[in-house]
Amino acid sequence: MADVVLDHTAASHGAAGQYEAPLFGAYSKKVGMWLFLASDSLTFGALLVAFSYNRLSNPAWPTPFRVESITNASIMTACLLSSSLTMVLAVFAAQRHDRAWTRNWLLATMVFGTAFIVLHGMEWSHLIHEGMTPFGNPWAPTVPQFGGTFFTLTGMHMLHVTIGVIYLGVIALRKWFLPILGAIWLVGFFVIPSDNVFHYGIHVLLVGLIVATVILFLKPKDYDAHDVEVSGLYWHFVDLVWMFIFPLVYLMSTKI
């Protein structure tokens, strides 16, 4: 596996003074992450356009979210905002080479992220229970797009948060994270009743587990401050996306 381990980052080259100064002074991964986020924002952008387009062309768009829903979504928002703060603290700790606190703050970020996912999952289950599906809803039978856009947009975002939590877990705990992830997957699978979508959705964790295993065994290394910073970029981006989804999907559909 020798050559998988070796890297070509401009950091190693730039150090020798044989290359033009790279964009962020140090390392290609950060450029790569920024570029990924640029394209991902277009991916979300298209979904947001799809939402807005459907909403504008359907005047009978329902506004069913009562105060409980909005409160729940506000708590979720608070979780994400707090997680951004703890993420920043993790990056600072990593830059101070404070390993213990880097890990602690990363874990705190993951806890907030997980809380977000769980709250969101409960919200989904609740809505599904009330009769909302991707192709229909009890409030406006002529506007099936309400459910369709809701589930796609928030589902895509939830997927991103889940990937984010796994990503941070790999950075914070490396191989020790794998059994934890595996345990969460199994427990989730058995605890969530089989008539609930998350009974199946939890398999995302299995996929994450496999990918994380491959990465950790092919490229075993200590993650440094750069890696923490790059994962932070991702995490903040996912938070930022929520700041568009929350007002558009929830606040603008409040029942008054």
Binding site: D3, H8, L35, S39, S41, A46, K221
Partner: protein, 577 residues
């Protein structure tokens, strides 16, 4: 983390699989992309041959497909367009030549993320296999054209081929999007971060600029198509109604309601228009490179070329509406899209005149790559001239969905980009495989292909103006279109000859790779970095050293220099500039 500061970090891999199959070497990956595209272009071309035969002899029974029913024709049409656009025009110029030569031309040992590079090739490969498998499932390949307009593409029952075949088609496109995103990210990071000392942005060869800008377009466009494709899959399989209003198929009301097919058109063309530049920009880059090299003159207006490409890339994102003039859009939007579209004519003209200016008073060497580069300019102009016509909403109402459009995009995008690839092949095969291609057969191939493609696609303009609609399988039943049949006949004969001539190319290619005369390190007396290293280049491109760049990319005919060209690495004139 920093494994090695001076040399290329990974040792040359051992073993067949690591060396040729799952290789991390950008050169091997480039060649893999090249052969993938070569396979795809033969599939695509075979499909077009079947279409052309059917158009002129509608009742003929053809090999492999038998009698062509209208839906068979539409499947052929869909797969032809999709394979050509995604797996040929997007794959070979960027994934193939770009992968091979971008790192070398900027003096890097490899791409920034070699593993990602390997993944993007294999993901593309999977997408291609999934695409082809659509032929073999029940119902066959989809009918909805490469643009996949709903409701046809969104309703399973809408026709044969709109079942599993269409799912595979959309799935393949989604996988392809992911592959292209990974590739684009790699290209951009490599260009930004791994240029050798002295290789400032404004000293990069125009090929590198074109790959760079193509990658920006890919990065921003494919994400949108990915989302659009996911929504389409949901409409088809989860019963959502993003794109589908209430539709009735065979007297049955489908479950959808309230969706808008126009949403798909917006999302698709927001990707689709940049996509046509993804196809053509690398060709522009390689044409600039070759025209300058074989005219023995610096490229005329290097900076203007760079800014023109940037302008094309930028404007390319604001003109998608010109594909939708017929959708009932507000005249004000149509007006804006029309004006913006015509603005693209300005940077395009700048490029054209700069190419002509490069050749003017040059000591031109008419080698095969040069012929193809000139052919590219010719086709780019001929195809481009019909663009401003189509950009007029008033004219487009007449011309949309006629053969005029087919002629337009084949000349400017299809064949021009293919000519860019031919030019690149004849120009770079000596470096890639260490052997020269045959000049004589190269020229024969060039002249037949040039005349042949004009003969196929020029008459389409007349056909379109005369009202010949596109995407019809048979024109013999309509009185006024019967009169156009001789033109179809002419195009079919021209297509048969042109397609036959492509055998000259592949035979020349494979014969040369194995038996051609050995190529020197710099057979064309060109100046860019790939010609400073061995032929074929060693595993780390420059044999353990990193080149230092002193000159711009096109220093030909420099007064006072010993030869008529100065390599980018020559210190000689560095001071004078």
């Amino acid at each position: 983390m920093a494994t090695s500061a001076t040399t290329h970090a990974h040792a040359a891999p051992q073993g067949f699989i690591r060396k040729y199959i799952f290789s991390l070497d950008h050169k091997v990956i480039g060649i893999q992309y090249f052969f993938l595209a070569l396979t795809a272009v033969w599939v695509g071309m075979f499909l077009s041959l079947l279409m052309r035969l059917h158009l002129y002899w509608p009742n003929a029974v053809l090999p492999l497909v038998g009698e062509i029913k209208p839906e068979t024709y539409l499947s052929l049409l869909t797969m032809h367009g999709t394979i050509m656009i995604f797996f040929v025009l997007t794959t070979a110029p960027q994934g193939g030549f770009g992968n091979y030569f971008l790192p070398i031309q900027i003096g890097a040992p490899d791409m920034a993320f070699p593993v990602l590079n390997m993944l993007s090739f294999w993901t593309t490969f999977v997408a291609f296999v999934v695409m082809l498998s659509a032929f073999f499932v029940t119902g066959g390949a989809p009918l909805h054209g490469w643009t996949g307009y709903p409701p046809l593409s969104a309703v399973q029952q809408a026709g044969p081929g709109e079942g599993l075949g269409a799912d595979l088609w959309i799935g393949s496109i989604a996988i392809f999007c992911i592959a292209s995103l990974m590739g684009a990210l790699n290209f951009l990071t490599t260009t930004l971060d791994m240029r050798a000392k002295g290789m400032t942005l404004m000293r990069m060869p125009l090929t590198c600029w074109s790959w760079f800008i193509t990658a920006i377009l890919g990065l921003l466009a494919f994400g949108v198509l990915l989302s659009a494709g996911i929504l389409l899959l949901m409409d088809r399989n989860l019963g959502t109604s993003f794109y589908v209003p209430l539709v009735v198929v065979n007297g049955q009301i489908m479950g959808h309601k309230g969706g808008s097919p126009l949403l798909w058109q917006h999302l698709f063309w927001f990707f689709g228009h940049p996509e046509v530049y993804i196809a053509i920009l690398p060709g522009m880059g390689v044409t600039s490179q070759i025209l300058s090299t074989f005219s023995r003159k610096p490229i005329f207006g290097y900076k203007a070329m760079v800014y023109a490409m940037l302008a094309i890339g930028f404007l390319g994102f604001m003109v998608w509406g010109h594909h939708m003039f017929m959708s009932g859009m507000s005249p004000y939007s149509a007006f804006a899209f029309s004006i913006l579209t015509m603005c693209i004519g300005v940077p395009s003209a700048i490029k054209t005149f700069n190419w002509l200016g490069t050749m003017l008073h040059g000591r031109i060497r008419f080698k095969t790559p040069m012929l193809y580069a000139i052919g590219f300019v010719s086709l780019f102009v001929s195809g481009g001239l019909s663009g401003p016509f189509l950009a007029q909403p008033v004219l487009d109402i007449q011309l949309h969905d006629t053969y005029f459009v087919v002629g337009h995009f084949h000349l400017i995008m299809g064949v021009a980009a293919i000519f860019g690839m031919f030019a690149a092949t004849y120009y770079w095969v000596p470096k890639m495989f260490g052997r020269m291609m045959n000049e004589f057969w190269g020229r024969v191939h060039f002249f037949i292909t040039l005349i042949g493609t004009y003969a196929i696609f020029m008459p389409m303009h007349y056909l379109g103006i005369a009202g010949g609609t596109r995407r019809y399988s048979q024109y013999t039943e309509v009185a006024y279109m019967q009169k156009l049949m001789p033109i179809h006949g002419f195009m079919t004969y021209a297509a048969i000859i042109t397609i036959a001539a492509q055998f000259i190319f592949v035979i020349n290619l494979f014969w040369s790779i194995f038996k051609g005369p050995k190529a020197s390190d710099n057979p064309w007396e060109a100046t860019t970095l790939e010609w400073t290293t061995a032929t074929p280049p060693p595993h780390d491109n420059f044999g353990g050293v990193t080149p230092v760049v002193h000159n711009g990319p096109y220093e030909y005919g420099v007064p006072g220099a010993a030869r008529d060209y100065v390599m980018q690495t020559d210190p000689a004139i560095g001071a004078a500039h």
